[in-house]
């Protein structure tokens, strides 16, 4: 049983006299203890809304509908009442936000903000709490923590602020951390440090981590399993290596193709994905990516593409997936994780306009 099992999560914002917005539309994924799961996609694909929905942090407004299930350790987070949800937040599940400056209260010293969590969930007070807070800051790599406790957020550097936020998030040793673009506001060297820190924390305490990002570099360095989101749906799920080696969904292919590479030839141009998220189809009318897709076929429009399950537990939502780049099944074998059942890779050659191919679900044991 996975630690967090998100099943068919959907978030709809209905507005008066306007078409309802399906920000998240049937997203399912699972997170095991100690695993790092990535949610990847461009702006507006529903990454953040997914995480906020799991935490129950979406602003309560008329017209907001959250459906599906998010089962954490046996309890459905979406069905919890406010009180028990507050108890779980920070203690069992914690979140790290994108912008460390605006996520810290500017008029309160860092120390008070860290001890607040300790007081809330671990009942620590006074000197004990201050001591523990200093230890936490030390653990996330803030030098001279005693002094830093008395400082205000604007006195810390960007990386230091993010470390402080991480310290607050891990204060109660939560079993699940959700990091919503934790490195976007930081420069590259600090990014690397923060990612390293998160990796260490995950390794040392067995915390599961959901990493929300648009940065494929971050994903490549961190995640065990990756869910690529587009238009509020998971369009491809795979473990890290298979995803980068042989992306199947054209969107994933496009994402990978639009990343500048050091080993690219001189003068070689980047391949952006044409169009923008704005020409989104409603999923009910077919694949939302179809208007921008280079591999579009007639079958893309009309009915929503089913999730295709391929070998070694990966799946994608496409009727005309990208071919596996020049790989024979024999070569592909070392890539697959040990223990994966050796179902013949039937759907590997490109099958234009092929209908959804149902494949048996495989168990994967990392």
């Amino acid at each position: 049983m996975a630690l967090l099992e998100v099943d068919d999560l959907s978030v709809t914002f209905a507005r008066r006299n306007q078409r309802a917005v399906h920000a998240v539309d049937g997203v399912s994924f699972s997170v095991d203890a100690g695993e790092v799961v990535g949610l990847v996609g461009e702006s507006g694909c529903g990454k953040s809304v997914t995480s906020l929905a799991i935490m129950g942090l979406l602003p309560k407004q008329p017209g907001l509908r959250v459906g599906g299930k998010a089962v954490f350790d046996g309890t459905d987070l979406l069905q919890l009442d406010d009180r028990s949800r507050r108890d779980i937040r920070g203690r069992d599940i914690a979140m790290i936000f994108q912008d460390p400056l605006s996520s810290l209260n500017p008029v309160i010293p860092i120390g008070l903000q860290v001890t607040e969590v300790l007081t809330r969930h671990r009942g620590m007070k006074g000197d004990a709490a201050a001591k523990e807070a200093a230890q936490l800051l030390d653990r996330v790599g803030i030098p001279d923590p005693k002094r830093r406790l008395k400082e205000y957020p604007h006195q810390l550097s960007g990386g230091m602020r993010q470390r402080a936020l991480i310290a607050m998030a891990v204060a109660c040793q939560p079993r699940l951390l959700i990091a919503d673009e934790p490195t976007t506001a930081l420069d590259v060297t600090i990014q690397a440090q923060i990612l390293e820190l998160l990796k260490d924390l995950v390794r040392d305490s067995g915390t599961a981590l959901v990493m929300i990002t648009h940065d494929l570099g971050v994903v490549a360095g961190m995640c065990d399993t990756i869910n690529v989101l587009y238009g509020g749906r998971v369009v491809e799920t795979a473990r890290r290596r298979p995803l980068f080696r042989e992306p199947r969904h054209p969107y994933t292919v496009g994402l990978l193709g639009s990343v500048p590479r050091l080993d690219a030839g001189r003068g070689e141009k980047l391949n952006p994905i044409p169009g923008s998220v704005r020409d989104l189809l409603p999923w009910a009318d077919g694949c939302a990516f179809a208007p921008r897709c280079t591999r579009r076929v007639d079958a893309c429009v009309g009915q929503p593409p089913e999730l295709v399950l391929a070998h070694d537990g990966r799946s994608y939502r496409c009727v005309n997936p990208a071919p596996v780049p020049g790989l024979t099944p024999a070569e592909a074998a070392p890539v697959t994780v040990a223990g994966a059942a050796d179902v013949p890779v039937a759907d590997e050659p490109p099958a234009p306009a092929a209908g959804p191919v149902p494949a048996p679900r495989e168990e994967e044991k990392p």
């Binding site: 942090l57 920070g90 979140m95 209260n105 500017p106 309160i108 010293p109 969930h121 607050m168």
Partner: protein, 318 residues
């Protein structure tokens, strides 16, 4: 490539250490604002005016040459003549033979007292209502919005009445007197404080750090008290300083209309102004001096208030 000598290195280290020591204690937003305030000349002018005003009103009454209510020069008053500025009466004599200088000094204390107490009343009541409404609207659910609605409609009612009319009605109900003036002037400023704090709190409730605190399971009352309110106070404090100025003017207006204190032993600038209007052609100083007193004090508070607004406004910060 040059090699920095050891001496130079030590010097640099020492300087770095000195610079680091400066912010060892942590500079809060308020300290930062205070530092900016000290560099603003308008703020310094306002502060000097207010400093003098406070010293005069606290110490002055013990040092005045004559008792403010004593009519020592009653016999010198004739029709169409009041003793003017002279060695024994620096500001001359008023219409029933009292020393104008002593009355001005003692009146300063009354003015300060009325201004401060009235503002305190407005600030306390307004912040209480605004704080509850702001927390309810920003953090509470449907019930919160209902509470906010009820409170704000009450505030709207207060706001709909012209302030002086409201003050006069309150004074009429409670009867004339110094306490009445304080309550009336305070009541007038309640809606301003309430709306200001509420609006500011609602804006802060949508901020990222509130979301972050919520995501860590901090309870709502705690979030309201220790996160939202401290961040919402700046405009309220600025408004309090500015309200002190209007409170002084309004208190003077109420006294002028005869709703203030009518105890001759306790002079008050607005009342002195009212008394002086009948003699404005023979002794204009009797009206000009209290008027100047009111204007200068109000100016002092306004200068300081505006400077504080600038110092605390995050948008004007560099």
């Amino acid at each position: 490539m040059t090699i920095i000598s050891r001496k130079k290195k030590e010097k640099i280290d020492r300087l770095a250490e000195l610079a680091a020591r400066d912010d060892e204690r942590g500079v809060s937003l308020w300290q930062e604002a205070f530092r900016r305030l000290r560099r603003n000349p308008a703020a310094m002018v306002g502060a000097v005016i207010l400093g003098l005003f406070v010293i005069v009103s606290v110490v002055g009454p013990f040092l005045v040459p004559y008792a403010p209510e004593a009519q020592h020069w009653k016999d010198e008053i004739r029709v169409g003549f009041l003793p003017g500025v002279r060695a024994e009466n620096w500001f001359g004599v008023d219409h029933i033979g009292r020393d104008q200088f002593s009355r001005m000094i003692v009146g300063a204390r009354q003015t300060l007292l009325v201004g401060v107490v009235a503002t305190m009343i407005g600030l306390a009541v307004g912040s209480l209502i605004g704080g509850i409404a702001g927390a309810a609207a920003g953090l509470g659910g449907r019930w919160g919005r209902a509470v906010d609605n009820v409170l704000m409609r009450f505030i709207d009612m207060l706001l709909a009445m012209p302030s002086l009319l409201l003050a006069i009605s309150i004074a009429a109900i409670l009867g004339a007197g110094l306490t009445t003036v304080m309550i009336a002037v305070g009541a007038v400023s309640v809606p301003v404080f309430a709306r200001l704090l509420r609006g500011s709190m609602i804006a802060q409730s949508n901020s990222d750090y509130v979301l972050a605190a919520t995501s860590l399971g901090v309870r709502k009352p705690k979030i309201a008290l220790s996160h939202v309110i401290p961040n919402s106070l700046a405009p309220v404090i600025v408004q309090a300083t500015l309200t002190l100025a209007t409170a002084i003017i309004e208190a003077a207006a109420l006294s002028f209309l005869g709703l203030g204190n009518n105890d001759a032993a306790i002079p008050e600038w607005g009342m002195m102004l009212a008394d002086a209007q009948r003699y404005i052609d023979i002794a204009p100083r009797l009206a000009i001096l209290p008027a100047l007193g009111i204007i200068i004090t109000a100016l002092g508070f306004t200068l300081l208030g505006e400077a504080m607004r600038e110092a605390l406004d995050p948008k004007l910060r560099k």
